[in-house]
Assembly symmetry: C2
Homo-oligomer: 339 residues x 2
DNA sequence: AGTGCCTCTGCAATCGATTACATCTGATTC
DNA sequence: GAATCAGATGTAATCGATTGCAGAGGCACT
């Protein structure tokens, strides 16, 4: 914080009061043209930059929203960050992106201390007591937790997993495998449930391997798959990274995709389209998700008449559903004839 | 900002002054044990959370560093963000990650308005006048700009490109191609120069295609390459994404990698190891880079005795060089016999 | 008892902006 | 010419914490 020039310096140089400088900058139409120009000149001459802390303190708001993600190095989030920032920027807001798994858990838990007016939460694994204690407009994006008292933005993971199953079944696959995400993860749980339900609806009794969404876990699953006596021919992975890891290991082990095994991913990250073979997957419109989440949280913030009023927090019914679609590519094909 | 309970409320409940509450929280050892406990109890009972704006204003610092990247959706940055945040967190600092290309360019240009005490800049393409006008401890990470008056953290891109060339040459490749990054990008320029110099040192006159680091541009380059009469057998791409795009398109066109063409990338992103064939590339220790950058900027911040003092800004000689290494994988092999 | 010192606590100024209210100027209207 | 009004500007309170200074109380020593 090196703001050595204060509004008072500008005022002195321009020969007006600090009130006038403040008005010239925030509500120019409330100031005479001649004065306004004098002020602007003084601002330039001094290199004045507003002190956000002082403004935030007085106005009791920070013009900023906090985005919390469980792991910044997960590439799935990148695009969401970009679109969220873009949308926020259009609203005149700053975003702060932080890692929810990496916060000092002390007094100022999770960096939240009034520096933000709203929160977009991408992590469903935080203690509900903490989350509900924030008392800020908050929306849950992608992941969620029923114990959080906040609306959600995201796709229908259960149904999307069902789409993957339908696709595989329609290609003739009768023996299926699901490579799951982390046990405690709500996305993993939901996708797994959707997978199992759809499979059972077709009278199938599929296999499930545990994983953690990563490339490595996908590769590991592939090795395990390769050693099975009766290898499933249709595989649904809980994430694209996992699916790409799975495919890549299959290929290295000498199998053909989709000749020997069809693979479906989840997310539709950039690489999905570029891998060889390209990956059939569930497309999540991440750009749209980021935008929608910010729009929602901004709306909630505006609902706050009194800055101390929790407003429409808890309006869970105001959730936004985003449509996911199945993108058919080269990693899935007809089931091989049973030996 | 919904901090409805202020330090005064805590003070009243605990039956002490606000000064005592403040001290109990920030310098507990300066307060009697009995009092301290009373205060802590009152804090819990009221759910008090400090108001960062007020604290920042009074202390004239924000306990936060700003990380500016040219494009949040570029997955190369993800890991840097994660490590930077981790390091900052260990120092008791918050990080704010922002997109430098997406800032409202008005009065509060780039979101900088005293909310941060230091900056890690990953973008070499910002107007130097703006950057030097920030008057904050600043370090340049990965990208740089000689017009910025600030130390750098990063690898030797020129030498690294040379390593790629040496590797290809040692495999017998005599006809080389470089798929470049954006024309104005300092990384692209430097890698290109390093490539050309090393090639010329071997008496070669290589080809250069322009690109922009992306998967798509790599694929495009591959199509162009495929149509050449005399196809270069050794290709060096300015980024891994580009290299993977190039390889993927080659394979789709029916070529063999590395049978028909050897490909070297740059960065060593996660997928490099998982593609088939796995990608030979220049490893940039991104984790280490993020940490180092934060460490440096924190050191500069501490050099600030007086918060209004630019301190050791301009200490360009204090740059930190990180070692890059060539990782040999399956995408490079002996040059095919000349037809 | 007096003095000095140490520990703990409170008072009140302070950080730098915003903004309710008051004041002033000049124009318009009757 | 007085009354009224609108627009422009200034005065001063305010946001919520931190912290220099001083006072109170306790203890030890002379």
């Amino acid at each position: 914080m090196a703001a050595r020039v204060r509004i008072k310096d500008v005022a002195t140089l321009a020969g007006v009061s600090t009130a006038t400088v403040s008005r010239a900058l925030s509500t120019p139409e409330a100031v005479g043209i001649a004065t306004r120009e004098k002020v602007m000149e003084a601002v330039k001459a001094t290199g004045y930059r507003i002190n956000a802390a002082a403004r935030d303190l007085r106005q009791r708001r920070a013009r900023s929203i906090l985005i919390l993600a469980p792991n910044l190095s997960n590439t799935f989030f990148s695009r969401i960050f970009a679109s969220a920032q873009e949308e926020a920027s259009a609203e005149g807001l700053t975003v702060q992106i932080s890692d929810s798994r990496n916060a000092s858990s002390g007094f100022e838990a999770l960096g939240y201390d009034g520096r933000a007016d709203g929160i977009v939460l991408l992590d469903g694994g935080i203690d509900p007591e903490v989350v509900n204690g924030w008392r800020l407009p908050l929306i849950q994006l992608s992941e969620w937790n029923d114990a959080y008292d906040a609306p959600r933005v995201g796709i229908d993971n259960h149904a999307a997993a069902g789409m993957a199953v339908e696709h595989l079944v329609s290609l003739g696959h009768r023996s299926l495998l699901h490579v799951n995400g982390p046990d405690a993860n709500v996305l993993a749980i939901t996708r797994r449930a959707g997978f199992l339900e759809a499979a059972q609806a077709h009278g199938l009794t599929p296999e499930v391997f545990s994983g953690d969404f990563t490339l490595t876990s996908g590769a590991e699953a592939a090795r395990r798959w390769a050693e099975m006596a009766d290898r499933p021919t249709g595989v649904f992975c809980a994430s694209d990274e996992c699916a790409l890891g799975f495919m890549s290991e299959c290929i290295r082990l000498g199998f053909d995709v989709p000749g020997d095994v069809s693979v479906v991913g989840f997310d539709d990250i950039e690489f999905a389209d570029r891998f060889v073979p390209s990956l059939t997957t569930i497309h999540q419109p991440r750009f749209q998700m980021g935008r929608a989440a910010v729009k929602r949280v901004v709306a909630m913030m505006q609902g706050h008449g009194d800055p101390g009023d929790p407003g429409e927090i808890g309006a869970t019914e105001r959730s936004v559903r985003i449509d996911a679609t199945l993108v058919k590519r080269a990693s899935t094909g007809p089931a091989p004839a049973r030996p």
